[in-house]
């Protein structure tokens, strides 16, 4: 069987190179044939999942909820250290100093990452801003979100905190962070389809000990990862319950 690997389509193109390298590394380590597929949109990913074309996925928390609860995917590994946190920023030239200074009617710049959007919208609630009274515009990368703020085309920008911290000093000097989340419980996870369960132990051993494997540290670097740890099922179920309190439905 060929293992079909993918990631949630919230990774900017420059990060996908790291996942191609990971895929090659995985094949060498396991001797399994694997293929890395890129889906451009959530619609494409979800139809691939329905067509059983995804065996191993590095999924954001939002997708993890559906995959684990509705499709029976099994949590394999989570980042050892990083959680997904969000920064909301505005232009340094704006007179907005805190979230409550924002008002309904604003334009918000963000990316396709649904976790970032969810957490971002929650942190705007103290300003009475919701999806009905604001315009959300999606950009292909976080530097483009920053640019939209600097051009004053949007009054608030949602950033994955890691991505915000990686913006150049020059760009950061043009922005004013208004709030940074400290949730600590939300992250991407590696999930395995029930069809591929036979590979669970092999994959978990590899991921857990990736830093000790040949070329492991370099590949981790390419993924901006500090390594993975193995969660128990309840830990992931708990993250899914938590996400369900944050999404509006």
């Amino acid at each position: 069987m060929k293992l079909k690997l993918t990631v949630s389509p919230d990774f900017p193109p420059e990060k996908l190179a790291g996942w191609h390298i990971f895929n090659t590394w995985l094949q060498r380590q396991t001797g399994l044939a694997s293929h890395f597929d890129v889906y451009e949109s959530y619609e494409e990913l979800h139809s691939a999942i329905d067509a059983e074309s995804v065996d191993l996925i590095y999924a954001n928390a939002y997708d993890s909820a559906n995959l684990v609860r509705d499709k029976g995917f099994i949590p394999l590994a989570r980042p050892a250290q990083q959680a997904d946190e969000v920064v909301i920023a505005t232009s340094i030239e704006s007179n907005v100093e805190k979230i409550e200074d924002l008002a309904p009617g604003i334009n918000i710049a963000t990316t396709a990452d649904p976790d970032v959007r969810t957490i971002g919208m929650i942190m705007l609630e103290p300003a009475n801003i919701d999806s009905a009274n604001s315009q959300l515009q999606s950009f292909g990368s976080y530097p483009l979100v920053a640019k939209s703020l600097m051009k004053k085309e949007s009054q608030a920008g949602f950033f994955l905190a890691d991505a915000y911290d990686r913006l150049s000093k020059l760009i950061q000097s043009q922005l004013r962070p208004l709030v940074r989340s400290h949730i600590q419980l939300i992250s991407h996870s590696f999930l395995l389809s029930p069809r591929a369960i036979a590979h669970k132990d092999t994959l978990q051993e590899l991921l857990r000990n990736m830093a000790e494997k040949e070329n492991g540290p370099r590949v981790l670097d390419d993924l901006d990862s500090k390594g993975w740890r193995i969660p128990d099922q309840e830990e992931v179920e708990f993250m899914i319950d938590l996400m369900s309190t944050l999404v509006s439905d």
Binding site: E100, I122, A127, N128, I183, F238, L242, T245
Partner: protein, 163 residues
């Protein structure tokens, strides 16, 4: 549940006795001072099916004023503020025991007698179709929504006293 202690509370608190759902009474101290919600944080706790606290995060501990050891194993009504009408909690319990998600504005009582407002969402923790407990996630509320909820709760409390 343990009574609140005069030594733990801020100056200018007033003493009151409240009756809990299980019929027991608790002495509480109330101080008219709000503690602001911490920006960017979620306050998280879980209970068993009876509402006894089984887990809470650091923000929960910080905002409640209790230590984690003082919270685990206690009924969640350890944070009950008498300004919240019974009907609000009854609605919450009915909803989550029925397997659904509930959300609303809640005023919580701290160990030191001060209070804090949250927007709380409570979900059942369903495992293999069975409710094993409940989790509540609170976030920073809009001040306008809190003022609306507060006005509504005042009316509901009046109706409670008259009935």
């Amino acid at each position: 549940m343990n009574d609140m202690q005069p030594n733990d509370v801020a100056p200018n608190c007033t003493e009151q006795r409240i009756r809990l759902y299980d019929g027991s009474e608790r002495r509480i101290f109330l101080c008219d001072e709000e503690v602001p919600y911490p920006d960017g944080k979620l306050i998280v706790s879980s209970t068993d099916t009876e509402g006894v606290i089984t887990h809470c995060n650091d923000s929960f501990v910080d905002m409640s004023g209790y230590s984690e050891a003082e919270l685990i194993g206690q009924p969640h009504s350890i944070l009950r503020h008498p300004d919240i009408p019974k009907a609000a909690f009854a609605d919450m319990w009915n909803t989550v025991q029925g397997g659904e998600k509930w959300a609303g504005y809640i005023k919580n009582l701290r160990k030191d007698g001060r209070y804090y407002w949250v927007y709380a969402t409570v979900v059942p923790n369903k495992r293999a179709g069975v409710i094993k407990g409940f989790t509540s996630v609170r976030r920073k509320p809009s001040r306008d929504r809190v003022n609306e909820a507060q006005a509504l709760y005042v009316e509901m409390k009046k109706a409670e006293v008259n009935s």
